[in-house]
């Protein structure tokens, strides 16, 4: 079986840089990380310098994702040898126990870290992840709320909480979490758009209007966000179709929906460029435009 460097004609430096990029952007492409990382470790360890330790950590976590306990174990051993008393390495050992579904043992490990260092956020978050893995959603939510009271700036935690609430269909609380995220990241179009989706799902005229506004805001921040564009179309259409709105609101929303449709159509035209597979989508959008023109009058 040929190596990654042969298959893709890359140097070890390029492989190392790719790993760094994936690390910095928090990608979960575990199979690729294992393939690239394993080769880097096996063939080029001596050239990596101090980078090797963080690569061991990254590859270990990816290996757990791919059920490669052999690789995870060997990475862990190297790290234990180099950093014998480290809490960071202990946490990795805990993650390995989690992967083996030995949750009791993992919890004991994390508790011992917390006894030593009660402010260790990583260990606390792992304990919450265990609750999630065990399907104990309400407990996970409770613990995460308690955690956030202390560590109110932890964005990863706010996002995790919003996900948990969405899965429990508690959209009001999910919206609250996303509001926190939007406040601290006003230029992030993804939070805006997700907030709008939650509002839309909550339903009701007021929420639909809010949804439409936030879809529009997301578009302002990134005019290529297709979900925001579709969301704008859907929310404006619903508002226009509602019997509770005034004629003016109806007219305005029909206009917004028509604008959204033309933008969607344009986006499909640009993406399709006459490709056969996209003709279906283009045709569908054209029909949408036609139906909008009928309702506008």
């Amino acid at each position: 079986m040929s190596s990654i460097s042969e298959l893709y004609d890359v140097s070890w430096e390029e492989m190392r840089d790719k790993l760094r990029k994936w690390r910095e952007e928090n990608f979960r492409n575990s199979e690729q990380i294992v393939d690239v990382g394993e080769e880097l470790i096996n063939e080029h360890a001596s050239k990596l310098g101090d980078d090797i330790w963080i690569i061991y950590e990254q590859v270990m976590i990816a290996a757990l994702d791919c059920s490669r306990d052999d690789l995870a174990w060997s990475c862990l051993q190297e790290l234990k040898r180099q950093f014998p008393d480290s809490h960071r390495v202990k946490r990795l050992a805990g993650m390995r126990l989690e992967a083996l579904e030995r949750y009791e043992d993992a919890n004991k490990l994390y508790d011992s870290i917390l006894q030593d260092d009660p402010t260790n956020t990583a260990a606390r978050k792992r304990k919450i992840s265990i609750l999630r893995a065990q399907g104990k959603s309400s407990e996970a939510i409770r613990e995460l709320n308690e955690y956030l009271e202390q560590f109110v700036g932890d964005q990863e935690a706010w996002h995790e909480l919003s996900e948990l609430y969405i899965n429990e269909h508690d959209y009001a609380k999910a919206a609250f979490c996303l509001e926190e995220l939007m406040m601290t990241n006003p230029h992030n179009h993804l939070y805006c758009e997700q907030y709008a989706e939650v509002k839309y799902t909550q339903g009701g005229l007021e929420n639909l209007e809010l949804a439409r506004k936030y879809f529009a805001q997301a578009l302002k921040l990134n005019n290529r966000n297709m979900r925001a564009l579709f969301g704008l179309y859907m929310s404006a259409s619903h508002i226009a179709a509602s019997p509770k709105v005034s004629a003016k609101v109806k007219k305005d929303n029909v206009k917004y929906a028509a604008w959204a449709t033309s933008q969607i159509s344009r986006a499909y035209q640009m993406a399709g460029r006459g490709k056969k597979e996209n003709k279906c989508s283009v045709k569908a959008v054209e029909e949408m435009l036609e139906s909008m023109q009928i309702t506008m009058s």
């Binding site: 994702d65 839309y200 339903g203 009701g204 929310s235 259409s237 993406a271 490709k275 989508s281």
Partner: protein
């Protein structure tokens, strides 16, 4: 009334789950439109599947964009207010003379195979338009071989596709929304399945 899956439908469902092992995934199943409208079918053959989303399945707007549903009044608390408008998947169905016949979902946790609120609502909507609709929830056990048109072929081809990591190129509706050039009908994978048959 039994449900059967073709190899293509089964493979794409499986590849969808394999591509996102850490997420919940869902999608639609399509069957060919029944020629004899008055006589009921004895079995429904799902010929293809449309992988929809991965990750947060419980949000309404993109799901509505993916489906076509009859118009209804907006009610407070109604999780899926809908609008009468043919969009995308429906257009593709019409062109290929398919009808949306079912829904599949694989939850985030392999041990949790109960349908949740989303699954039930989608299945209810689908069954409004197609009375013999089916819902498939993924479990970690071997499926019963009756629901396959050809179980041996399905197993063989799925194994080959998983081996070659074909799931990396599977496109779901989420991928399509990320980049419109991504084709959720997955013609390349369909070709691979045909090629291996």
């Amino acid at each position: 009334m039994s449900l059967k899956l073709t190899t293509q439908a089964y493979c794409k469902m499986l590849l969808h789950a394999a591509k996102y092992p850490h997420c919940a995934v869902n999608g639609l199943l399509v069957a060919e439109k029944h020629k004899k409208k008055d006589s009921p079918r004895d079995s429904v053959l799902c010929v293809d599947c449309v992988p929809l989303f991965h990750g947060a399945l419980a949000l309404a707007p993109m799901l509505e964009v993916a489906l076509t549903l009859k118009s209804r009044l907006i009610r407070p608390g109604n999780i899926f207010p809908v609008f009468n408008c043919p969009i995308l998947i429906d257009a593709w169905c019409k062109e290929n003379k398919y009808v949306i016949a079912g829904y599949y979902q694989a939850n985030e946790r392999i041990k949790e195979a109960r349908p949740n609120q989303v699954a039930e609502k989608v299945a209810a909507r689908i069954s409004e338009n197609f009375s013999e609709a089916a819902m498939i929830m993924w479990k970690c056990r071997e499926p019963s071989t009756d629901c396959f048109e050809d179980w041996i072929e399905a197993q063989k081809i799925t194994a080959a596709l998983l081996e070659s990591k074909s799931y990396e190129s599977l496109v779901d509706f989420d991928n399509h929304l990320d980049d419109l050039r991504n084709d959720w009908t997955n013609p390349e994978i369909n070709k691979s399945v045909l090629h291996l048959c």
